[in-house]
Subunit: 426 residues, 2 copies
């Protein structure tokens, strides 16, 4: 593998600096670059100010092979990217008639005529190649300058991402700057903290120092580990696969999957393979658990539905949880969690059911806020589990959903499906 080309990004737009928009472009581009063997050395969020952008671009061009900019190509006077970059490159701008034609055609399709502002978007940096934008008005630009490349991309996600994937990346691959695909592996773990996962896996990575780039990311009970071949003597596919296998055994039941499959998708896949169905019932997570399952395309083959029962009488009327059970044990109790799961399985005629009941906060009840019970109903029995997480309402709900999914994943893993089927046959 060649020495990786150095890349930086300029993310342009006032809205990135005033807390109103998350820079999701960086997440997308960072992930794509690492998967194709390029090294992102820095990202900068800059305001819509031509001097600032010009200065930052000049400095970045001293450091990098490839500079990517996103945003600031719109029709308003705030959109100064083209002028600022032209000035940083000591080039002029020109009016591109082909771009004008495509903008006019785009407007005409909606029965409109572009304003003078819209036609500002026809300005192209001298010597730049236009990157057509089938999803919007502002074209991208590809500029080669003294052995360096500047890729100028529009800000809206639905325009930027396809332009990068379909026009920028293929050019970089043809130039030999990016690889079609480098050895890359993501491992999803559940139920451990980041430091526990790192303590388990870091010793396995030691022999490959300098040949492997490792990143950990923890989110409410899930830790993702991203392994990418890196450096001049980068790991090859076979080696990475065997590292992955060693990680899997070291992690034991905390290993959820290779890749970034949601845990909900792992569960649905396993149930679908055996023709089984699933239902959920939830109180404090109020629909988030169902939303995780239904976020998976094709989930309707397995997922029958869910019941969000916030009020106790809804638990009784819709799920058949006996009122006296709630009175005796409380709605936040292992007994109620199990009764909710069984009730959901019955109401939605499903083989399996998962339930959550708890206090998301800020208020508690017979238990402190942050207490969550998980109930699980399967053809071979019922279980309950308790977790407690001291965090915001939002964090408790996220953590509760992740814990419930992890609980079910582990149960399905432990009582492997074929054992279950044996068991049912007896």
């Amino acid at each position: 593998m060649l020495t990786p080309k150095k890349v930086e990004i300029l993310s342009l737009g006032d809205e990135l600096l005033v807390g109103i928009r998350v820079n999701s472009h960086l997440t997308y581009l960072g992930g794509e670059l690492v998967r194709h063997g390029l090294e992102l050395g820095r990202d900068q969020e800059l305001p819509d100010d031509a001097d600032t952008i010009r200065g930052a671009a000049k400095e970045a061009l001293d450091r990098v092979d490839l500079l990517i900019t996103t945003g600031g190509l719109g029709p308003t006077s705030d959109d100064v990217t083209v002028d600022a970059l032209a000035s940083a490159l000591c080039r002029s701008t020109r009016h591109d008639p082909a771009v004008e034609e495509s903008i006019r055609a785009r407007f005409a399709r909606r029965g409109l005529t572009p304003t003078e502002n819209n036609l500002r978007q026809c300005r192209v940096i001298e010597g730049a190649e236009v990157l057509p934008n089938p999803n919007g008005t502002a074209p991208g630009q590809w500029i080669e300058d003294g052995g360096k490349v500047i890729a100028v991309l529009p800000g809206p996600r639905g325009e930027m991402q396809p332009m990068f994937a379909e026009q920028v990346l293929p050019r970089l691959i043809r130039m030999g700057w990016a690889s079609e695909r480098i050895p890359f592996l993501q491992i999803r773990t559940t139920g451990l903290g980041e430091s526990q996962v790192a303590a388990t896996l870091d010793p396995l990575f030691e022999p490959f120092a300098g040949r492997l780039r490792v990143a950990y990311c923890a989110h409410e009970g899930i830790v993702d580990v991203r392994l990418a071949a890196a450096g001049e003597d980068a790991l090859e596919v076979g080696e990475l696969t065997s590292v992955g296998e060693r990680c899997r055994s070291a992690l034991g039941s905390a290993f959820a999957a290779f890749g970034d499959s949601p845990v909900a998708a792992i569960i649905l896949r396993q149930l679908r393979r055996h023709g089984k169905t699933l239902a959920v019932a939830e109180s404090c997570t109020g629909g988030l658990l169902a939303a995780r399952f239904t976020a998976v395309a094709g989930s309707s083959k397995v997922f029958n539905g869910g019941i969000v029962c916030y009020r106790n009488d809804a638990k009784t009327n819709l799920l058949g949880v006996p009122a006296c059970l709630i009175e005796q044990h409380g709605a936040v109790s292992p007994e109620c969690a199990v009764a909710m799961a069984t009730g959901a399985a019955e109401a939605l005629e499903s083989d399996y059911a998962l339930s959550i009941t708890g206090f998301a906060g800020p208020e508690g009840g017979n238990e402190p806020p942050g207490t969550v019970y998980i109930g699980y109903h399967s053809p071979i029995g019922v279980w309950a589990s308790k977790i407690h997480h001291a965090g915001s309402r939002e964090a408790v709900r996220e953590r509760g959903v992740n814990a419930a999914l992890d609980f079910m994943r582990r149960k399905l893993r432990k009582y492997e499906m074929h054992e279950l089927l044996e068991c049912l046959r007896c």
Copy 2:
């Protein structure tokens, strides 16, 4: 108002550059800074590399009054922030015995002894004031250097945010660099695109050019407008309030609220004021609509629950949607949407109900993917509404939920509650 102090952020950590973690610190800090009259001029995401961090810190210190760093204070060898900043400031580091004591105490409470690595976190830049970290081991640091300030904050959100709010911001206010609160207003609009909102409001802002900072942020049917007093002759509270009022009238029914109240919270507040209750039923959004209502603390006073009915027989069994209605009109139809809403109101004994049925994609049915019907049941009648959005499964679901919430908000606004009550009395 004084000339605002210039601020930059260095967001440190490899994981920010490989697409594995979104930089949510920037969103939090950007929002806080603008609310307190500070101007964030730039953020940079940098890898855990001491040379890069040192160079970027030196350059940033030439530009700014206040430099904030987040991350890289952990116990591992990747965590190079303290050394890199010390080197940028030409200062040495020292071992702080008070920090060591607090780390040892923290470990002892869990029956553990800190390793040598953990004790690396006791190193403090010469002359720095230690910012205690009650939520983790790594302390923050506050450094004054030639009239400039460097605030060094830990990476985990639960440690960084309270340290900024409770220790950094109060110091900045005492120094007169930040205001207790500057004139600030957020307006939430629904149902219009960003360019429509901008076209409506920009003329109102023109007279205040240079005295007001405006940012727009669009997200799946919601557009937020953030107005902050800015500049030496910044807008005063009274002026901003009157600008806000003019925006409200110009926006008409697209005005949802001042502030960043979720639309679900606006609806719940209004129903609660009148002692009314709410239920939901949803198919393609699979729990997301219920999750929006239950995300609001105290929602259980109004929100009775929800039913996620993915399968048609669940719609019939749990919601009482006649099987022949589904057969005749399809499950994705205005008729089915209304029947689901009415069924949810009955099953959950609620005054109001909102329903969603549609094809989130990638597959469609009797309608193309992206088609969503909203059903609404209220004491004075039922309605249905259709939307279509060509986007990813995730975007269609988000857009569908936002459209349903907006539909109900507008209905409640149109038939103001007192009219409704009049009407019910007749």
